[in-house]
């Protein structure tokens, strides 16, 4: 088959493009989160004291942190899906980093040193560490599957970004269940769970996202 013949086949396949990859990724993420929502409500559920919790700044800050992280991570993932990925896609996460560091600093200033340890360890660590990854499995699968239609400049990086988006969507759901609202807890255990998913995503991406 020479190149002109190949061109004929490509044109016959149709010129019109499907929806842009960013929108497809968003749809995939939404589908994955829908599955995780079912898992969330059938296992953990929203904490019973959600109304009073909403009036505490620590809970609100926790929600703002994970939602901001989710939005920024989605931007990173969309960038990573393109062959002409902009340099340093992770730079988008800077506002998240600033927010987390500031929140930790405020918490350390407000709370006496004696109770740092108790706030860091919290009461839910052993649930948080496995549940954030479990709630991010379906989003990870959906986003990776959609990224196979993309053309990532770096498959491993794109996989890592998928792990990041998935972990933050899992963390967003989990945050509504967890009683530990201290920024010390969030910055430590949520980050650890997220890091694990980023590594899983990178390893899967390197295998699955080559094109």
């Amino acid at each position: 088959m020479n190149t002109d013949q190949l061109l004929g086949a490509l044109v016959a396949d149709g010129a019109a493009a499907k929806s842009p990859i960013g929108r497809s990724l968003l749809r995939a993420l939404a589908a994955g989160v829908a599955v995780s929502l079912v898992v969330f409500f059938s296992t953990l559920g929203i904490r019973p004291d959600i109304r009073p919790a909403l009036e505490t700044w620590r809970f609100d800050l926790k929600i703002v942190t994970v939602v901001l992280g989710l939005a920024l991570a989605f931007g990173v993932c969309r960038d990573c899906a393109r062959p002409d990925m902009p340099p340093h896609p992770a730079r988008r996460l800077l506002p998240l980093l600033v927010l987390v560091v500031a929140a930790v600093a405020v918490e350390l200033a407000l709370v006496p040193e004696a109770s740092w340890r108790q706030r860091l360890v919290g009461s839910n660590m052993l649930i948080c560490l496995p549940m954030v990854p479990i709630l991010s499995l379906a989003p990870l699968a959906a986003v990776l599957w959609m990224l196979r239609r993309a053309a990532p400049a770096s498959p491993a990086l794109a996989g890592a970004s998928a792990g990041l988006v998935a972990a933050l969507s899992g963390a967003t759901l989990y945050a509504f269940h967890c009683f530990d609202d201290s920024p010390l807890f969030v910055a430590t255990w949520y980050s650890l769970a997220t890091l694990a998913m980023v590594v899983v995503g990178a390893l899967l991406g390197r295998r699955l996202l080559r094109w």
């Binding site: 088959m1 020479n2 190149t3 061109l7 086949a9 490509l10 842009p20 899906a81 002409d84 053309a151």
Partner: protein, 172 residues
Amino acid sequence: MRLARQGDDEAYRRLLGQVAVWLRAVVRRGLASAGRGPAESEDIVQEALLAVHLKRETWDPSRPLGPWLRAIARHKLADHLRRRGFHDHVDIDDWSNAPELAVEVATPAAIDSRRLLASLPERQRTIVQEISLEGHSAADVAARLGMSEGAVRVALHRALKALAAFYRRENP
């Protein structure tokens, strides 16, 4: 490309034609600077064209097309060199001749088409042959095979994806 996204097949054909010419030049230059002759260039051109087609949703219409195309060409060239470079040595003689070799006839056949087509299931193979080698339209092929035009298009699309996978796997 903007027209093509709206389904203007003629615009798409013109665009892909121009992209093919441009790719051929870029790929040969890339091969030459890696110390390789242009013999493999058409494989890479075809592989990159398949990627341009199959991955066209990753181009953001609000951005220029050039950097996106360059990124795909670079990716496919690097991929090819990595696969070949593993067991090949750099031929110095070839390297010194590269500038003259770069002016060669257009569109030589790439990979042996029979081997490539043989990798497809029969129905897909027939459709690709009728459309690409014999130049029939999807509607003609559909009538002849007693399939709907939509089914022919689906089979063609699957075949193109399979070809892209074939290049990735087999291209020695």
